[in-house]
Amino acid sequence: MEETITPISPIKKDNFFIARIKKYQVITFTFGFLLLNQEIVFWANYLTGKDVFLGKPSLNILFAVIGIPLIYFLQWLIVVWVASKFTRERLKEKFLRHPIATIILFILFITDLPYRLAGYWGGNLASIFEVIVYYAFISFLWWLLVCWISEKIWKKQRFQWNWYKKIVDKTFIILPPLYKFVLGLIVALLLFLLLFLLITKVFHYTGSDIMKLFNY
């Protein structure tokens, strides 16, 4: 009897960054999109002379080329590191174990959010999204700290409510697709605007058909 020996190919390991990009695709996409938005806003302001962040023009260009990508890269590293510490189940357990901290910090987050967004109403949609995501992450870190202190003080879980468990279960089901939908919607809207502007510029569209249609 013949025995066939199949050669075992060595397992190819991705490097640190590629592995994390593949594992946390939604986080990477979010940061990529926010970086692109920030660069577009910066260059639009810089080229129209509306707002200059730093005094010298060369410093501004250096900031846009190196500074902004570096800031977003570091933020991506931090978020990915935090995400790697929690599986979905572990996070859910934490939410169920600390209902009081979750409710209080959620109320604080919701009530404070309008003040955080006060300067952004009527502005860029992606910037509003960025503020909400950024502030949600900061609140999440505060919540982790409160949970950690609470665990040190109370060793056993003191409160357990059925309605709270149901809300947490439902949130864990709804939130991931909802986040993807909102992010997709914002990206689609900006992509639509960008493509429309690009085509308008290339073909010198004047809007005469729309004006005729609406009798202007």
Partner: protein
């Protein structure tokens, strides 16, 4: 990631479709009044017939219609590429 790609693609496609329909509806209601509004819901604009009719009647090439159509096709490509990966 693929889900986001599909969402972006379909939103672009559906959004472009809605804008094209609004363009068609506005033109029909302008030309034929209330009857045009009802006909806009029943009839289809056709691939090239409506833009030609619009061009002849209004005297302006409906570039907006074609720009939005093009963006819709880009959306369809994005959705297609995102679905293919699965």
């Amino acid at each position: 990631m693929r889900t986001i790609g599909k969402i972006i693609g379909y939103i672009l496609w559906i959004g472009a479709g809605i804008l094209m329909f609004v363009f068609w509806l506005m033109a029909m209601s302008k030309w034929l009044g209330f009857l045009g509004t009802i006909l806009a819901f029943i009839l289809a604009p056709g691939l090239v017939i409506f833009p030609i009719v619009f061009w002849i009647v209004e005297g302006a090439f409906p570039a907006f219609y074609f720009i939005v159509w093009g963006i819709g096709i880009v959306g369809l490509i994005i959705a297609g590429v995102s679905s293919k990966d699965e």
